[in-house]
Amino acid sequence: MEAVPAMTLLAVLYAGGEWLARRRFPGTFYPVLLAAVFLLPAPAAALVALPGALLSPVEQRPAWLRRVWRAAELVVAVWAAGRVFRALGGRDAVEASDVPYALGPAAGAVLAFCAVLTVLDGGILVVAERVPVRRAWRGLLLRSLAPVGVHGLAGLMMAVLWRSPYGPLAALLVLLPMGVSWWAFAQYHRERGAHQATIRALVQAVDIKDEYTRGHSERVGQASMMIARELGMDDERVEVLRFAGILHDVGKLGVPTRLLRKDGPLTPEERRVIELHPEYGHEMVRGISFLGEARAAVLHHHERLDGSGYPYGLVGSQIPESARVVAVADAFDAMTSTRSYSRARPVAVALEELERCAGRQFDPVMVAALVRVVRRSGWDPVVTADGVPSRRVPSPAPVSGRAGAHR
């Protein structure tokens, strides 16, 4: 019975915290739960989780069913952690403020907490969402151990200070740095979202000028990503190559709108002006440090393996790998979508054409990767920026017979 005030206070704290952090990341206030594990008998600690979990935010329907499941899951996990902590003798250590000893039981409790949550999370994925058994549990435990471990340390400090003469007030101070940390994390996600939207806007600015190629940039991004993944590059590089594909034509902003929108064949002079766009694009993106090798791809995506490309006429391996990837993706999408000067070709025909030009114009490794991945999983790009359907114009005479020799 003497646990009731502490239990009530912790439950209110947890519920208040989860409510404040709503729509963001559930589990932010685990330090409170873990402090309850270290302070209270297991059943009382389990009750602490209940109101907060029932109030917690749910994005998908049915909301109440999900809330009840989440509450049940947390109650079981907290209870199990409490039992483990007590069995290992942690409660006496907390009473005696014996921190080095209490670290062991606390680690056990954290492990139990994570293990129970992992088993239940994976289990519900398998049963209710029909996720394959192999995928359901992959990485779930390892991903949660580190953050919950840090939360556990904070919870342990809370518990020790709570039992000390300084009382609950001192314990609550522990939550401040955790709160700031959560705030910074939420801001980070918000800012990252805004950043991605800005990059998309950079691309849309091209679309304003060049209406025929709407959606082209994102599709090239997708194809570049598929090639990079097929070549076994790590996730970070795959992401950079996606940006490379998305931004490859950003230099078209520097080409007069009249030229980009011109129907019919171009004079050699006009062609030269359009061929400046890789350099314009590089000039724009070179200040964005996180783009890394994507910047080289923007500059060199019109180079050809035999040295007949532009702007520098690089040969073979002089061309950066990222540019070779984007060149293939660019040509592929140019052939499979309708342009003002040519009608869309079927995917199979486009792949054959790419294979024909591999070695002279394109890197055979990239072409082979694209052929493999498209034959295996198809080509069905999802384009988010595809707002207005593009203006279809009957194609005038082809500008050039060479594959991917688009503007």
Binding site: S97, D98, V99, P100, L103, V150, L153, A154, M157, V160, L161, S164, P165, Y166, G167, L169, A170, L173, V174, L176, P177, M178, V180, S181, W182, W183, A184, F185, Q187, Y188, E191, R192, G193, A194, H195, Q196, A197, T198, I199, R200, A201, L202, A205, I208, K209, V250, G251, L253, G254, V255, T257, R258, Y280, E283, M284, V285, G287, I288, S289, F290
Partner: protein, 412 residues
């Protein structure tokens, strides 16, 4: 506080305090060496992990928290501590110096300001606490009251630190002291409160469980530091992306090279002179960077991108187009509002839009003029204040320009 007098005052008093403490400590010797060593190591570690960059309020949160907790440490696992003010300052100074060595070796500046601030802040906390504690004043205070006392002391110390930081920034940059102090105070609930709370928790934690509390409580604060660092990093890349987006109009040949960057830098300086807060300055800077973006929607460029000379209706049309583009970029909606309203008559404009309008006109006017350009341009703006340009903005612009010697800031 006059610019130029604050800097020697702060550095001088910090150096005096440091010398006096070192002398006193050498004279009496170090008490309770184990505790001194543990806290020294913590402070040094905090300084080593200190990070550099703009927009960083507390560069070494762990170092600050460790130093404060040593200043407010009364007990170690139930036994009273005996160290005095001089020892606190000496240990913190020595540890900070050790931790600063790699930073100095890499040639990073700002070390002296940082050290002076640390010494004075810690000195303030220690002077408030240690003599009274060692005298036995708090002996019969109850636990929670003692905890409250520490919190109150930390709040006072944070205030003192904010004043110091603002004074240092004021004397380094010449920006007005009031808004700088307001920015420092506004930033306190963030990392400042985390540092203060960690300092209190470490002091209390060591009092209860001994030195074990230090490593255990390092980790949550390190986590905070990592989160804040990631946040700062993403803000930096975001800024770069917006600057690139702004250059689109230059590359497209709509505006002359460097125009957006110059307008942004000058707008920021004017905004600071007018006392805008840091978030407002960010909105102003982004809006200034993107103020010409509406021209991308034009099929043919305006001659030399000089919108200030166009008829009012045309200016407003381009401004509205720009606002529409900015809205698509997912940037703060306030930025879009500023871009949209940049061509309105100034009494109807938000302050940031007034600044963008006046600075944009100044940059366009000054460009074609010869050596007397800045003065002529300012004169034209002053004459135009009746309807187009807000008088207080033009005056602030004149102040900023006279401070910078009537040249345009070169970097963005």
């Amino acid at each position: 506080m006059k610019r130029g007098r604050a800097l020697p005052l702060i550095h001088g008093s910090a150096a005096l305090l440091a010398l006096f403490s070192l002398g006193a400590t050498l004279w009496t010797g170090v008490e309770q060496r184990g505790i001194a060593l543990a806290f020294g190591a913590l402070v040094a570690l905090g300084e080593l992990t200190r990070w550099h960059g703009p927009q960083v309020r507390e560069a070494a949160p762990l170092g600050a928290a460790g130093a404060l907790s040593y200043a407010l440490l009364g007990e170690d696992a139930g036994r009273a501590t005996t160290h005095g003010v001089a020892q606190v300052i000496s240990v913190v100074l020595a540890a900070s110096l050790v931790g600063c060595v790699p930073h100095i070796a890499r040639g990073r500046g700002g070390v002296f300001d940082h050290l002076a601030r640390r010494v004075l802040t810690v000195g303030f906390a220690a002077v408030c606490f240690q003599p009274l504690y060692n005298h036995g004043t708090f002996a019969d205070w109850s636990g929670p009251a003692y905890a409250l006392l520490l919190i109150a002391l930390l709040a006072l110390t944070a205030l003192c630190d904010a004043v110091l930081a603002a004074a240092l920034a004021h004397s380094r940059t010449g920006w007005p002291f009031g808004p700088l102090l307001r920015d420092e105070l506004r930033g306190m609930p963030g990392i400042g409160s985390a540092v203060g709370a960690t300092g209190a928790v470490m002091a209390l934690g060591v009092a209860v469980v001994g030195l074990w509390a230090l490593p255990v409580f390092c980790l949550p604060l390190l986590l905070t530091q990592v989160s804040l660092r990631r946040y700062a990093a993403v803000r930096t890349t975001y800024r770069q992306t917006i600057a690139s987006l702004a250059r689109a109009t230059e590359i497209a040949g709509y505006t002359p090279a460097g125009h957006a960057r110059r307008v942004a830098a000058l707008s920021r300086a004017v905004g600071r002179d007018l006392g805008l807060s840091e978030p407002e300055l960010t909105v102003l800077e982004y809006a200034a960077l993107m103020h010409d973006i509406g021209q991308l929607s034009l099929v043919d460029p305006v001659p030399a991108g000089a919108t200030a000379g166009l008829p009012g209706a045309e200016q407003r049309r381009i401004a509205l187009l720009g606002g529409a583009v900015v809205r698509q970029t997912g940037v703060d909606a306030e930025v879009a509002v500023v871009v949209e309203r940049q061509a309105d008559p100034y009494p109807e404009q938000p302050p940031a839009a007034r600044i963008v309008r006046a600075v944009n006109a100044y940059d366009e006017k000054v460009r074609d003029a010869g050596p007397g350009g800045p003065l002529t341009a300012l004169e034209e703006l002053r004459l135009g204040t009746a309807g187009d340009y807000a008088p207080e903005v033009v005056e602030a612009l004149a102040r900023v320009l006279s401070r910078e010697g009537l040249t345009l800031p070169s970097a963005g």
